[in-house]
């Protein structure tokens, strides 16, 4: 994700794989469900725009070539266990001797220092150790993560931010540096509501299914409707009164607004609401939502500017009119598969930068000849012997 972001901002990003292939190539889902390192949709997802080469940095010739690449690079992004690169003679100090301007960005489960630095991580461990899981899930079952893995892309985006701050420093001072990203800390940052409750009174928020700890009490964020669910909060005052009035009017047209009619939503204070009052409101709204589909409710929400969101699936997101109108999807060409795949476009719009997806993820060693041969000046003969020796 970090390299993907830099590439969308215009950087020429080279993905370096070991001659055995990047482990991400073995992660599914796979194109047409065929497990094949050239068909991993996970690989396709996060390696767009990049050129790809293979290199065995554990061999001495491989290390020499790596150093050559570093001497021409602005950033090195890596996620090896702490100490792995320095043991190979490729740590930050050694790389900065070759290229004092180099920025080394290291993304690891717990960071480069500390008692857990050598611990193994994965999405599940990051979501648990970062505090996310304890407050997520039904109370009568184990805590859960988000099923679509989040921790690594979140850390990749943080790493891009850190790398670009280091880049700014380099533009001012002329020197590179080492950016140390802890995936655990990337998740922990977003537990700040929980931290606020802890800091204020020593309270430990817990998981409560569709409810979240908020002002005063636990309140419902996720509501079942006829064909799925909605994202909605009961709120009074400036933020929520308009929504509640409009819902009341709609409910009244179906004779379901008894308990809501005449309520003063402007002065409804969710931090002071009593549990029976809250329950009555929740029941009335909950019953009403069950009678309507998420599209019916969302259409009304857009028409009346109500704070309600439909619980979309990936399919509904892809078909969502707003994203289509904004030209958010690009049909990326995969000539080898004789197809195109619809993928998200670049992450921002700018009056100056064309932030975009320009090419599909690289095939295995696709740019070896281009980068080693044309750009580093390795002769054809040498290239052949590097291949035979398993260095590239």
């Amino acid at each position: 994700m970090c390299g993907k972001i830099l590439s969308e901002l215009g950087a020429d990003v080279i993905k370096v794989e070991s001659p055995g292939g990047d482990p991400a190539r073995n992660i599914g889902p796979f194109y047409h469900n065929i497990p094949d390192p050239e068909k991993s949709l996970y690989w396709f997802a996060y390696n767009t725009n990049k050129r790809g080469i293979t290199l065995n940095i554990e061999s001495s010739r491989g290390r020499e070539i790596f150093k050559q690449l570093v001497s021409r690079a602005d950033f090195v992004i890596e996620s090896f266990p702490p100490g792995y690169l320095s043991d190979l003679g490729l740590g930050y100090r050694q790389l900065s001797e070759i290229n004092p301007k180099i920025i080394l960005t290291s993304i690891t489960p717990f960071g480069q220092t500390g008692p857990y630095k050598d611990y193994k991580g994965c999405d599940l461990v990051a979501m648990a150790m970062g505090g996310f899981m304890y407050v997520c899930g039904d109370a009568d079952r184990p805590p859960v993560r988000i099923s679509a893995e989040q921790a690594y892309p979140i850390a990749g985006a943080e790493a891009a931010a850190g790398s670009l701050i280091a880049n700014h420093y380099r533009m001012l001072i002329g020197e590179g540096q080492w950016v140390d990203v802890s995936i655990q800390e990337c998740i922990a940052r977003w537990m700040f509501m929980e931290l606020c409750f802890w800091d204020a009174s020593g309270e430990i928020p817990v998981r409560a299914g569709p409810y979240r700890r908020r002002m005063g009490t636990y309140q419902r964020d996720i509501w079942p409707c006829k064909d799925g669910h909605l994202g909605f909060r009961i709120l009074g005052g400036r933020l929520g009164a308009e929504t509640l009035h409009a819902l009341t009017e709609w409910m009244d047209s179906e004779n379901m607004a008894e308990s809501l009619k005449g309520m003063d939503f402007e002065s409804l204070d969710m931090s002071k609401i009593t549990p029976p009052e809250l329950k009555e409101l929740e029941n009335a709204l909950g019953q009403f939502f069950l009678r309507h589909t998420k599209e019916e409710i969302y259409r009304k929400a857009v028409e009346k500017n109500l704070l309600i969101g439909p619980g979309y699936t990936p399919e509904e997101l892809v078909e969502y009119e707003q994203l289509k109108e904004r030209n958010f999807w690009t049909e990326l060409k995969y000539p080898e598969l004789d197809t195109t795949i619809k993928q998200p476009e670049g992450f921002l719009r700018s009056s100056e930068i064309h932030c975009s997806i320009r090419r599909r993820a690289p095939l295995f060693g696709e740019h070896n000849d281009e980068i080693y041969g044309q750009e580093l000046g390795v002769t054809k003969q040498e290239l052949a012997s590097l291949k035979t020796e398993g260095i590239i």
Partner: protein, 412 residues
């Protein structure tokens, strides 16, 4: 622009960068918070007529409601200067122009279209300050049929597909953390601003950047989206299961609501796992030998794993598993996080002294730069705390002018 470096670790990379923060709530303020941490001068603009929502959000100090007493506002606004300005006051336009001339970067999240009303859309801004970088944050982008629909994290997290992916397959979706989509945008936005600064240093040109929650969110779901666009498969929530690992889940441990996680991907990790649990008879059952077998018998496997974890604390499980290189962790509560030895080592939680909150916890960033200092110089500002400083010192107003505008109600 090079300067002599005496003690590099004393350098703030964004020192001298001036940021006008017109944004509200979580997304924008968490962009400028990072810039402030690296030395940028950030002025957060508010009004006493329409209170920033995070100022009127619980929890409050000692449970007493007060405009400077919310922990939520404090969490997103450390190290900034705070001023109040009534944009609806006719005399505010002149003050706004001076703030813009002062600024290098502006961050805003106005409802699409309303910036123009206040003379704050990009065309007007860059006329006043050539080279300005403007970051506009929105729910669904400034154009398109749904651009005017109000969006907050709690309704956008559903629209963007995150609640669909949270919970158990046999039950209704549950809520991931609060305003989830708000939290995904700051890192992308900080990167965008720094890239724009790079562009400006090279070309002298500023730019207008448009970041929306609707378009950042899918960046975190691409494999699932491609499974639909390439294969027509609609993935859904599956608790903690993974196609590539088993066991892979949260398991009950000794104590009240205590849990650990364990993730076993490879056969090598499975063998290590079996040794850690003491190689009881069931671990020798050939049906568990391969990932395929473990996935096929996962409900049974999970029960056997839990019969072992329930006798131990989650810390014991983590320590033993990790000693054998099996990925494992404690399902940490917020109390666990604050006391986590790793986070302590990383100096994650700092203490700040705030005039009304007293000492409170300020979180560090998720990355460390070897050569650049992060400093939480000040707690979040009280409402209008830096009016006099900003208007007279930063903008150079005379005492007389400041007092006149103050009496006129411009600084409300």
């Amino acid at each position: 622009m090079n300067r002599e470096v005496e003690n590099k670790s004393d350098i703030f990379p964004l020192e001298g960068v001036k940021v006008l923060d017109l944004s509200t709530q979580y997304m924008g303020p968490n962009v400028t918070r990072v810039l402030a941490a690296f030395g940028a001068e950030v002025i957060r603009v508010e009004s006493i007529h329409q209170h920033e929502l995070t100022r009127v959000s619980a929890p409050y100090k000692d449970n007493l409601v007060g405009i400077n007493r919310s922990f939520v506002f404090a969490a997103s606004n450390t190290s900034k200067y705070g001023i109040t300005l009534n944009l609806k006051h006719p005399s505010s336009a002149e003050v706004v122009k001076r703030l813009i001339s002062w600024a290098d970067i502006i961050v805003e999240n106005f409802v699409p279209g309303s910036a123009k009303k206040y003379g704050l859309d990009y065309e007007q801004l860059r006329e006043l300050k050539p080279g300005i970088i403007v970051l506009s944050l929105s729910a669904q982008g400034p154009t398109g049929p749904y651009s005017m629909h109000r969006g907050y994290g709690f309704n956008l997290l559903a629209l963007c597909g995150f609640s669909h992916f949270t919970g158990w397959p046999d039950r209704e979706a549950v809520a991931p953390i609060g305003a989830y989509t708000d939290f995904l945008c700051p890192s992308f936005s900080v990167g965008s601003i720094l890239a724009a600064m790079d562009h400006r240093l090279r070309t002298g040109k500023g730019q207008h950047i448009d970041v929306s929650q609707l378009e950042i969110s899918p960046q975190f779901l691409i494999p699932s989206i491609l499974d639909y666009t390439a294969n027509g498969r609609i993935q859904t929530r599956c608790g903690n299961r993974s196609e590539y690992a088993a066991p892979h889940g949260a398991f009950r441990c000794q104590g009240d609501d205590r849990w650990c996680v364990i993730a076993v991907y490879s056969d090598k990790e499975w063998q290590a796992f079996c040794r850690v649990v003491g190689s009881p008879e069931w671990t020798k059952d050939p049906k568990f030998n391969t990932l395929r077998g473990r996935k096929g018998n996962e409900d049974e496997l999970d029960k056997l794993v839990e019969a072992w974890t329930v006798l131990l604390t989650p810390e014991q499980v983590m320590t033993r598993m990790q000693a054998s290189e099996v990925a494992s962790g404690v399902v940490q509560t917020i109390k666990d996080l604050v006391n986590d030895p790793q986070l302590k080592h990383r100096e994650r939680f700092q203490i700040l002294e705030h005039p009304e909150l007293g000492t409170h916890i300020c979180e560090n960033l998720a990355f460390r730069l070897s050569e650049c200092k992060v400093e939480w110089k000040r707690p979040a500002p009280c409402l209008g705390e830096h009016n006099e400083l900003v208007y007279t010192k930063f903008l150079g107003m005379s005492e007389e002018e400041f007092i006149e505008l103050l009496n006129d109600g411009v600084f409300e």
